[in-house]
Symmetry: none
Subunit: 213 residues, 4 copies
DNA sequence: GCTTAACCGAGACGGTACGTCTAGTCTTCGA
DNA sequence: TCGAAGACTAGACGTACCGTCTCGGTTAAGC
């Protein structure tokens, strides 16, 4: 997160309003719901937040940065409650993630900032820092539990462990995003179960008959 | 594909130029490379194509529709050459898809139109028709071959077969897209091999030791 | 008048439709009433006339020429019935002219083409030929009658006679146009009587008490 | 005149630039000279004035209103220097007015806005307020002087006085405009003298022999 | 009655200007 | 020094007309 409010060096003059920050981020999410990414304008956000456009530009460099911050907060809601088995944990996080992507502000904003980031390394880094990497904890935590339960073997080489975690993260997140936003099909319990079976058992085993837990 | 040129009902009046269509789509891809999605303007595309802005608007409703058509042509390049085994076929198509996503016109355009489509059912349908569904052929063809080789069992229930194909498509396409565009990590041979091992063998088996073919 | 229909040199091929000419001019006047000069478009005129735009451009060079022809016909309605005295004749023609300028197609078109003609000598000539000079007959005829009645002395020098006729024409036409279109005041019987008194008797005499006939 | 700059009710925000107003009006007159009314575009005026198009639209509703204001300033140049007699005063103002109408920006603009005003009461009012009525001062002043000199009798009834002034104004302005712009003949000293003789002495007296002063 | 050239409708074409919108900056006043 | 208000430059938007062109099809004069 990028704190615009408190970490200023100089201390003379009128201090910035902390309320304004929250109001602006909330207004941004509201505007995303109403208008979508491309029709969202900073002037409109400022109006909704009851704030002057100048104030907004003083704190964020542009639309991209603002939206990344506004959306990042939403992703911190994801959790990994212990459901007793690796399969159940995977299913749970898949459904949580799908719920998040079902919210209009997330749907439209996430893909849009990713698209913008293709030609902007700074933005790409900001997305990784603020959104993506923060969620890898879910993979690490899930593996840890599965190893404790004996469902997965321990991994000695830390580099291989990291690579595998990244791979799993891309597969899980990618599949859910693709199903939700590109294929436009619902991510319901049935799909989550099929996906989990595929992830755990692989195509060779699960190809014909997905094993219902 | 949406044919703007030939399938009009009335036959009076000057017919539309078929060259213009091709020039516009090529100019769109060129502009995507140079400018990226958000800085691409239809006026600029028209200029690059040597065409009047009105000609462009007569055929496409807006930026979204135009870019979908321009990018869709690129996806038809994907093929599934027979590499002798299911694992090799998967690896091959993953690397092909990654190459396609490494091209700047695809990187910037694909996520952007998906983002726009979240609030526009017509656009979502156009993306599905022009891009997504057309590539499912790769999954179907790959499974067919694997079954003929005996690597996968036959599937009797056609509905289950279709659901499984959709699942695999979302997993493969989603993982590659997420790795390429969100995580911003390279999709190289090594990653493709690890991913294939996971897809075929599942997490339980491949978790510790990915089986190098 | 410019005859587009009959005076062509070659004689083979399909002849131009004479009905089209009339329909176009009528449609032009109708469009002038509905839309005014600046919002009149040739495409709209063509549609109203049930004619293709091409047909229209084949016969007139542009909006200006078309409107001049369309309006010129209206001016030929003016007549100078013998009312028994010079004053009565002047009053009569003033009121007739004012009635003509009260019609919306005349109001808007006359000034507009005059404005366009300031930078276009060919158009200026066309206006003089088609509209202005044709009406000078009214002045000449009126003077002729007045001289026969003994109200005005004969004029021996033909050049002086011509200059005086031009002067009177500018004064009468100019005053009526200015009153109608610039001052936006009605040209009614009372004003016509006052104007006639001024024209005949001059300011020195008519200044205080206009002599009601 | 319509003050866009100073008389706003609210006082917050950046005030409008007074320089911009002057630059825009000057650029408008320049563009009228170069292009004429019909080819004048607001985008071009903005460029010439070194101003953004939005600044221009913020202050004027459109081309008509802008041109009226730009031309109105020119009309304020007219004066009525005391030349010693009513006839000389009339001649002087006629020649001044003709000089004004000989300037290309006036020629092309005046008739055009009058033409546009035929279907637009607001514009008609603006023309009357900004241009026409302001010049009636010349008639009133001239009559005042002539009465002081004893050339014209005093007029007791103020309503008759006003009606007569309006009549004279329409006759003088109309005749000069018609001569200049419609008949396209020069308003030179000789014509001014003939016209003055007609105006003062009337047709009956001046018909044959215009009294050369 | 057959040619044949010029006509006709329809509508796409390359252009240009429109009037509006948004971005991001700047300038003023008041807190 | 900050914030609200709103004017500023810059430039894309999507639309409307311009005047030209390219079609398929029609129509009368002249052979």
């Amino acid at each position: 997160m990028h704190d615009h409010t408190t970490d200023r060096p100089g201390r003379t003059g009128r201090p910035r309003s902390a309320e304004a920050d929250a109001a602006i981020l909330a207004a941004t999410r509201e505007a995303l719901v109403d208008l979508g990414w491309s029709k969202l304008t900073l002037g409109d956000v400022a109006t909704r937040a009851g704030v002057a456009k100048t104030t907004l530009y003083r704190r964020w460099a542009g639309k991209n940065e603002l939206v990344v911050d506004a959306v990042a907060e939403l992703f911190d809601e994801l959790e990994l409650p212990d459901r007793g088995s690796l399969a159940a944990d995977v299913e749970g996080v898949v459904l949580q993630f799908a719920d998040l992507l079902a919210r209009p502000e997330t749907r439209t904003a996430l893909m849009a900032v990713v698209a913008e980031s293709t030609g902007d390394e700074a933005l790409r880094a900001r997305i990784r820092t603020s959104i993506v990497d923060r969620q890898k904890r879910l993979v690490l935590e899930g593996r840890q539990r599965a190893q404790e339960r004996g469902e997965l073997p321990a991994e000695d080489d830390p580099e291989t462990a990291a690579r595998t975690a990244d791979l799993i993260f891309d597969v899980v997140a990618g599949a859910v995003v693709h199903r939700s936003l590109v294929s436009s099909e619902p991510v319901d319990t049935e799909w989550a179960r099929s996906f989990t079976a595929l992830l755990l058992g692989g195509l060779a085993q699960a190809g014909g008959r997905p094993s219902h837990t």
